[in-house]
Amino acid sequence: MADADQPKNLAFYIGKIRQRDAASWEKDDLQDVLYWFRQVVGIVFGLVWGFAGITGFLGFMSFVISSCMLTMAAYKSVLGIDEEDYGGHADLIQEGLPGSIGSFLLTWTLAYTAMHS
């Protein structure tokens, strides 16, 4: 059954992820998975950065870089994606980044307040 005919629900995405590099991805589906992955990463990293007491602009930039590297690791190693098939790294790495920055800032602030104020 072609991807376009299947309902795009959680079971669909989990099924594809479990196939790892055996799965073939439509670009939109791949970007959706990376988007949601990025939102979770933003919240988790915010908590970690806050509890660890990481501060300042360098702290923020380290989140951006770590988030991008983790996203790349996820689609290269876990999903076995060849970025050349999807127009290069740019579209995949930046997917979901703006949204995750907001959630990172908020959770970073609250975790930092809880531990260090």
Binding site: Y35, G50, G56, L105, H116
Partner: protein
């Protein structure tokens, strides 16, 4: 300052406001048969256009100039359909965005009036002057690392609105969003102004 329940109350209000906004948009815009028809038409046209462009960039050479001309006419016709659909879609989504603006303005006033002068937390960074308009709104003193209710509300509302909309499938596909951006009347006005300047 210790972490209190205030920021979590503001986050809960941000979530409720985002869900309420999307519910209104769904009830008055997304649910209507005209919007659904328009969305389907725009998505279909964008898919056709992308397929044609991929086919032509893949090095497929037309058998004759007549076939190439016919192909170009078809592409032009589909592009014109897409421009027309995307203009209608922009108008429809603007209507939905009005709910967002009104809800955000009303709830923001409530949040600011309830938590005026109350610091929600300590920022782990010193925000630039432009961002301090949000992070230090309504707070006394000069400590730039004090975090206001406005910052908590704005970030949580934006986060929940974006993700609730995406989870419920209210967003357009990326191709349709690109078409909307490319055919944005404001962008076209700007380009026209530059041309005649």
């Amino acid at each position: 300052m210790p972490l209190t329940s205030d920021p979590f109350n503001v986050i809960a209000i941000g979530l409720a406001a985002a869900v309420f906004t999307e519910a209104l948009a769904w009830a008055f815009v997304y649910r209507t048969s005209s919007y659904r028809r328009l969305k389907e038409e725009l998505e279909r046209t964008c898919r056709k256009l992308e397929a044609i462009k991929q086919g032509s960039s893949g090095g497929v050479v037309a058998a004759s100039s007549k076939a190439a001309l016919k192909g170009n006419k078809k592409e032009k016709r589909i592009e014109d359909n897409m421009k027309s659909s995307s203009k209608e879609m922009s108008a429809a989504r603007f209507k939905a965005n009005i709910f967002t603006m009104v809800t955000m303005a009303v709830v923001y006033k409530l949040v600011i009036s309830k938590w005026d002068g109350v610091a929600m937390g300590r920022l782990p960074f010193s925000p630039p002057a432009l961002l301090q308009n949000i992070t230090h709104r309504g707070l006394m003193g000069n400590d730039a690392t004090d975090c206001s209710a406005m910052f908590v509300f704005a970030t949580s509302f934006a986060f929940f609105k974006q993700n609730v909309s995406k989870a419920l499938g209210f967003n357009l596909s990326r191709a349709a969003t690109r078409a909307l951006t490319a055919n944005n009347p404001m962008a076209n006005m700007d380009a026209a102004a530059k041309k005649y300047a």
